[in-house]
Point group: C2
Chain length 272, copies 2
């Protein structure tokens, strides 16, 4: 088994929630990390233009912008408001130089999961022309089914692949996050099927049982996921882009940013 090399390591800012944008860019530069998975709330700290300038002068590239999506809503007006927000996210991705905007679908409408799924697909279709115009690829990210009620009605890679196939645009791909897909008996088949449609790859680990619904992800090596096997499958499918470390975990959040980054780097080299 081959290591992916440090050159593909990207720090997703969800891992270092309490590290400000300026300090994060400096910290990554000092640690020799060449990629940053940017969150919109962090981007707002300095603004997209100033963030882009600092990234450039530090030799760091944005691997993706997190996140757009959350399409389903009860009224047409609210759905339009969600779309407007997604257009702004596409703008920000373009401004900060992120080639990819990650999409989290959004939850069901009361008990109607089918309707929410239909609205997700409609939302993507409505967003795509603008993403294409600005040169941004959309990465539909299936979330773990434990988030089906509150965050994402798209819950398997198979489902994301099917949506991408139906829509059929080179500007719509999928993001594969090992935390969300590791349990799926079909995951290796679906990674192969996704092929060049994979536009993002995220790593963390699955603690059993998860200590928290949102903040219960583990650092690579601390849990049950066959991370290297999944990474090699994604590579074999044709992906050679950045590998984002995205760990929602209170203990990691409580660490000083540079310390968290050192841990991420060590575990990335050992387990990814």
């Amino acid at each position: 088994m081959s290591e992916p090399g440090l050159g593909r390591l990207s720090l997703n800012q969800a891992t270092t929630q309490h590290w400000g944008m300026a300090a994060t860019i400096d910290g990554c530069a000092r640690a020799g990390i060449g990629w940053l998975g940017v969150w919109r709330d962090k981007l707002a700290e300095l603004g997209a233009a100033e963030t882009a300038r600092r990234l450039r002068s530090s030799g760091i590239r944005a691997s993706s912008l997190c996140r757009g999506g959350f399409f389903p809503a009860a009224s047409a007006a609210e759905r339009q408001a969600r779309l407007d927000e997604n257009w702004r996210a596409v703008d920000e991705a373009a401004e900060v130089g992120a080639p990819v905007l990650v999409l989290v679908s959004g939850p069901p409408l009361d008990r109607d999961i089918d309707l929410a799924r239909k609205q997700v697909e409609e939302g993507i279709c409505a967003l795509l022309p603008y993403a294409e115009e600005r040169g941004i690829r959309l990465a539909l990210e299936p979330l773990h089914p434990m988030f089906a009620g509150d965050r994402s009605v798209v819950v398997t890679l198979g489902q994301a692949n099917a949506i991408a196939a139906r829509i059929g645009s080179p500007f719509l791909g999928v993001a594969v996050d090992v935390y969300h897909v590791w349990w799926d008996p079909a995951v290796y088949d679906e990674i192969a099927r996704a092929g060049s449609g994979i536009v993002g790859f995220h790593v963390s680990d699955w603690l059993a049982p998860p200590p928290d619904h949102l903040l219960g992800r583990g650092v690579m090596g601390d849990g049950h996921i066959e991370i290297r096997r999944l990474r090699e499958a994604v590579d074999a499918a044709g992906y050679s882009g950045p590998i984002e470390v995205e760990i929602f975990n209170q203990t990691v959040w409580d660490m000083p940013g540079a310390e968290a980054l050192a841990l991420v780097r060590e575990r990335y080299l050992r387990w990814c």
Copy 2:
């Protein structure tokens, strides 16, 4: 949409964790509940023979025994010990008159989920001849993928159906629990595919986000699951047996048994 009728309501004892077996049987009899989903730890309170006698004299039938399974283990000796435990569970099911033993697969071995899945299938094959001899049907229950790390490497109805099809015994079926399968884009197809292989149906609701990993299930009507739609699908597939209400929820556990049962009955009639 038609109601299933009170005659199919079964109280699974996981709903009333602190209600003793004797009081539960009396309480069900008083409330006109004709089925009980029995747990092995509860069965041990009076023993299988005395429990069976009290159930008979109260006109209550055991809908299933919970539970066998947990097959994967690192050593052959430990796997044999798990099998021995499953044989005892089959005996108890026969003694208490439960036609079905529910199987929860068990967790992965460290990071090797494929090996655990193989051992689950081998365990079922090793258990089946004895189940057949005693006239007990095994109900393989896929658990929600949030339990993939600590309880069950069988996480979709499609996976359970595939295992049942490969083994191909009339004494191996599947249990469909709405809490575990509601999120699955393939759930209606897989219910239809399961057909007469459905030997158990369990209901509760999905709260978003779940307030607890194990004890976070909702009472029917309090969450996001299209319970009636799923029940009608299961019926359309050929199932006409008892509907077990299985709600792992601390608030329900803290209610007096008779009060919990009254709530279960009311919500069953309204939502199932």
